[in-house]
Amino acid sequence: VRSDIVFTPPLSALAAIAGDPLWALGIVSTLATEFDMDFIFIAAGVALFAAFAGYAALLRRI
């Protein structure tokens, strides 16, 4: 492995993030066009975790 490809200084990462201001626009666009499927999977994910919170409450009765 060449030494120049092994390590990139952290400042380069910050510069890359700061240099791309259009990313927020893309997020809004994706949310607007594909929200239906995302809604299902986000709701399913949250419901799965909420179900276990309910399960924990039920275990108190044992």
């Binding site: 995302d38 999977f41 994910g45 276990f52 924990a56 108190r60 044992i62």
Partner: protein
């Protein structure tokens, strides 16, 4: 087989225990709140989140905190995966994950499973790898260790109510254990040739004159926590068999050792904190015996030439299909045993290419409950549950009320132990049973017959056990993404929630001094009893399925030889 192979297996397991021991002593001090050299940094987190680290939580509050944190982590990671094409640090220009794949991957990393239905180098941006996946490697590992710490405090307590504070545990375990270890290991891996860069790829000229793009990225930092936190999800699809994740035999040894190190350390920490060093040593011995036996079994199976090769009159040698020639049969065998015993899931060879018995042993290691030494934290609380079951069985045999580490084990604890144990069986066998009759699931298999069943059984076993290694051969589909996601979730929280409920009952009980009627839980008798309970429980649950998969396949292989 040769002496070098056996020495490698013994050295690897021995080094894991040797590194885990002092780390466990240090970890006990972290669990006890005695390590505070980064107190100002801790304070920043507490102030920002409004947490009082000194305020103890009941088991239910601790559980809700654990679940709330995991829910937030799921949502955060899901968003990154879906939106990565719009986010920075995406030199490859990768599109966002599909919704079902993002669902699967988010649950996978939040539950410390790291099942990967994608190729990291051709699907995940640097931001996804660093801010999404690697962050969850820390967070899920810390959450698992926090649950183990809470269980340990339940044994320490004498008629108490508090299991500690989940948020304080999370911060301290990350700051004092996972981060320092990961920084050191990442630097060592970097020095040994593992890349750590934000470049997307370099172009190479092949011998034929073609251009080949060789993927690069922040690999060393992810590799370190991948193994330390028993996560297992690699930067590359080929995982630790890829030369950039695992360039040489030294990095291979390091990755094997650190994969089990924290699992053993948790047991030592438990012994120190509860003041039961001898009993913890017995648990450690059980782990070492069983992971050693599995490594030996896989090594014996993989060192033989396959019957088909012998029948073809090819020069005999070990089964090298799917193995890196840099590592050979012994390294692959011990890696396979340790990664399936540790709930890690990283691989340095393809498990589907193991012989039927070799692959069957790897799968059975996950069936045993991921406690040998198991995932960080989860391995400890899983084997403590088995120890509770063992003293209960012993109590039935001699007609006494069972006790473990000074706490009486009564009907309530046993009901919770069985709830935790049975959830794994229900998930593994239930989902596999449905998948092998559903056309939409069957069409994802690369083969049929016994090996096809093994592929499907391994997938749901790995997901439910929060292991994450794949038998390979299984194609991705929305059905598998969703059901494997649910299996991972059941395996993590279906087990951890009853564990915390048990901690909640134990914390309120008085701590009793041992009497003449107390079963000793530190001697050879208890070690044998515990091994027997673990083997019998898993055997009763999973042997019929294994008999139809790898065991049948083994006899089919022998029949092939006989017919040629």
């Amino acid at each position: 087989m040769n002496i070098q192979g056996w020495a490698e297996i013994a050295t690897t397991i021995g080094l894991s225990v040797a590194c885990g021991w002092p780390l466990g002593i240090y970890m006990a001090r972290v669990w006890d709140g005695k390590v505070r050299w980064l107190a100002p940094v801790e304070a920043v987190f507490y102030r920002a989140s409004g947490v009082d680290p000194e305020k103890g939580q009941s088991w239910l509050a601790y559980t809700i905190s654990f679940l709330a944190f995991s829910t937030a982590a799921f949502l955060f990671l899901y968003a990154i995966l879906r939106l990565q094409q719009h986010l920075p640090l995406n030199p490859g220009g990768f599109a966002g994950f599909t919704p079902d794949l993002a669902f699967n991957t988010a649950i996978s990393f939040v539950t410390n499973t790291n099942w990967q239905f994608y190729s990291g180098e051709s699907a995940a941006s640097h931001l996804t790898q660093m801010a999404g996946l690697t962050v969850q490697n820390f967070a899920s590992a810390a959450a698992g260790i926090a649950v183990a710490a809470a269980l340990a405090r339940a044994f320490v307590s004498n008629r108490g109510t508090s299991l500690g504070n989940f948020w304080a545990d999370l911060v301290r375990i990350t700051l004092y254990i996972l981060l320092p270890l990961s920084i050191v290991v990442a630097l060592v891996l970097c020095a040994l040739g593992v890349p750590q860069t934000l470049l997307g790829h370099v172009d190479a000229n092949t011998m034929e004159g073609a251009k080949q793009a060789i993927a690069l990225g922040p690999i060393a930092s992810q590799e370190a926590i991948k193994q330390i936190g028993t996560n297992g999800g690699g930067f590359f699809n080929a995982n630790s068999s890829h030369p950039f994740e695992n360039p040489n035999s030294i990095t291979n040894l390091i990755e094997e050792v650190i994969m089990n190190m924290l699992g053993f350390a948790c047991v030592v920490a438990f012994g120190r904190l509860v003041g039961v060093a001898k009993e913890a040593r017995a648990l450690l011995i059980v782990m070492v015996i069983m992971v050693g036996a599995a490594a030996a079994g896989i090594y014996v199976a993989e060192s033989q030439p396959t019957p088909a090769v012998t029948a073809a009159h090819v020069a005999p040698g070990p089964n090298m299909e799917g193995k890196e020639v840099r590592f050979g049969a012994p390294s692959t065998s011990v890696f396979a045993a340790m990664t399936t015993g540790a709930s890690d899931g990283a691989v340095n060879g393809m498990h589907e290419s193991l012989t039927p018995l070799g692959g069957g042993i790897a799968m059975f290691m996950i069936h045993l409950g991921e406690m040998l030494p198991g995932g960080v934290g989860s391995g400890l609380y899983s084997i403590v549950l088995m120890a509770i079951l063992a003293v209960f069985v012993a109590g039935l045999m001699v007609g006494r009320t069972p006790e473990y580490l000074g706490k009486k084990i009564e009907a309530k604890e046993m009901q919770l132990v069985m709830l935790a144990t049975l959830i794994l069986t229900v998930s593994v066998l239930g989902f596999t049973g449905v998948a092998v009759v559903l056309p939409m699931a069957l069409k994802t298999l690369s083969t049929t017959g016994a090996h096809g069943l093994s592929e499907m059984l391994y997938a749901y076993t790995s997901a439910t056990g929060n292991n994450g290694s794949a038998f390979a051969g299984l194609g991705t589909s929305p059905y598998l993404n969703v059901t494997l996601g649910i299996a991972m979730w059941l395996g993590r929280f279906g087990y951890a929630v009853p564990v915390l409920a048990i901690a909640g009952t134990l914390v309120a009980k008085p701590r009793l001094a041992p009497t003449a009627g107390t079963l000793p839980t530190h001697g050879a008798l208890f070690v044998g009893l515990l091994i027997g309970v673990i083997l019998i429980l898993a055997g009763l649950q999973f042997f019929p399925a294994l008999a139809l998969g790898p065991i049948v396949e083994h006899f089919q292989m022998l029949q092939f030889v006989a017919s040629h």
